[in-house]
Symmetry: C2
Subunit: 302 residues, 2 copies
């Protein structure tokens, strides 16, 4: 698991391409103003650009492409979602939260800038997501735009990611069982991954009932992703992970690995990936990227 | 200025009514779940309910009523806006920001709960605003909903309130002139007050060109509001203000009072109120509440 596995060439190209497009979009959409707000925009750009695998935007784009959506719209929805992910990392890294010094191999925002700027940069990226989604440039259709907004707001807030983060805080002082850890991770990590496939499907005007298999796919890769993360935290080294490792065990938090053991957790992740791929049975070659992505998630080096 | 002035009876009733409706709406829309997220929702409710004059929801409702909007829609838009205001206060009160112990006369969220919960409660109220606005219960018309979302996202983020908060941080180490302090306050306080009248007008399906006078009204009362705040900070006592006072002077920050002197600042606030009321000349008695509200803003006890 701590060995870097080269993604297959279609996925490798797609990862490189999305990383390039996401950075370009943030660069174009977050110009630094020539006034006292400059430091805020610099912090937003520092956090948003040049780091991360961009798995969430890639998921948005992969699903959008299956349904013939224009690339620009998919990239815009992708960076909106990525903005939420990045804001949550900035706040999560704060001293009062996980107190992390390293993120994507560089100093966290509150260390590179300061804590107050980190709070505001997170808050501003949070709004930026909804600015982007509500902009007619994302979709000319107001119904599509409002569906995008609603999907992201529900995935991000107390019913989704933030609720999962709260459970994660409580986990430090409470012994969670496997059921509760699963629920925690379905919210903390799963909600945004689920939103990724939903955003792609909303852009593709897939009716809600036609999205069920994509949601199932996302739910399975979301859990597989978290199990893989726990295994990296359990086994990995900080250099490969690009962030501190071993922190969950240190904090006494129940994880998939502590509850199931590393061997069973690894098997479970592989099983979830096969199950995720099974949900795509109705699709042909157009879903190959989603299939590769599912495999990559448990085999990634970080 | 530090004397409590009784609002006129129409305004007094409107303030009492909106405070009641806002608390009821938060209570109904933020039930505490029976799981490990309970503490998060308790913190959101603690911050959102039972405090503040609810001036922003009242502005939304007053404008909405001028254009015959259903009360329920106005209240929903009002609590969305108030959620943004409340989230910004939670984060602003954090030790790494203003480090305040008291808000609306009770301990701030990070003291009543803890810092991590305060960060997440702020983040969750931030999303809650967009959840509420994007919900069909706010308006059956997707175009109206997306306009509400876009108005709020732009007013809240780096282009608006959060940008103003960043300028406010910079103000601690830089000598701002009157022009820059005005710009700072137009963003920090003015953006959400401007959004309040915009939300009411969007619900009333007033075309953008028909909202210009309302925006002018909001801009003037926003500045008057901030000057009044500076005067309270300069002269007031913490008991009346419900929060710590004298902090700006202590931090060496330029304020309207430090730059203009208390007497000229007081005159300027009165002038702005008259100007704000002037922008409502095209309206008859239906704008009386907005007129009273403008006067109240410089005469309020806190």
């Amino acid at each position: 698991m701590s060995q870097a596995i080269a993604p297959d060439s279609q996925l490798g190209e797609a990862l490189a391409q999305i990383a390039f497009e996401v950075d370009n979009a943030f660069d174009a959409l977050l110009p630094v103003p020539d006034d006292a707000r400059a430091r805020l925009f610099e912090a937003m750009r520092y956090a948003a650009m040049g780091g991360g695998k961009r798995l969430r935007p890639l998921l948005v784009a992969a699903v959008a492409e299956m349904y013939g959506v224009q690339r620009e719209a998919a990239i815009r929805a992708g960076i909106a979602l990525e903005s939420i992910h990045v804001y949550s990392l900035i706040h999560d890294d704060l001293p009062c939260m996980d107190d992390d010094a390293l993120r994507h191999g560089k100093p966290t925002v509150h260390l590179a800038f300061d804590e107050a700027t980190a709070v505001l940069a997170g808050d501003s990226l949070h709004d930026f997501a909804f600015e982007i989604l509500s902009d007619p440039a994302t979709s000319a259709d107001p119904f599509t735009r409002i569906e995008l907004v609603r999907t992201l707001a529900l995935a991000s807030g107390a019913q989704g990611m933030a609720g999962g983060q709260m459970m994660d805080l409580v986990a430090e002082s409470t012994e969670f069982d496997l059921h509760t850890v699963t629920r925690l991770q379905q919210l903390k990590t799963g909600a945004l991954l689920g939103a990724a496939v939903e955003l792609g499907a909303v852009l593709g005007r897939v009716a809600p009932e036609g999205r069920a298999h994509l949601r199932s796919y996302a739910r399975d890769i979301g859990l597989a992703f978290q199990i893989a993360d726990d295994l990296i935290d359990h086994e990995g080294d900080a250099h490969v992970a690009g962030k501190a490792v071993g922190k969950d065990a240190e904090a006494g938090k129940a994880t998939f690995v502590s509850l199931m053991g590393a061997e069973r957790a690894r098997e479970q992740a592989r099983m979830l990936v096969e199950q995720a791929i099974g949900h795509l049975a109705q699709h042909g070659g157009e879903a190959d990227l989603l299939r590769s992505l599912a495999r990559f998630i448990v085999e990634r080096d970080r």
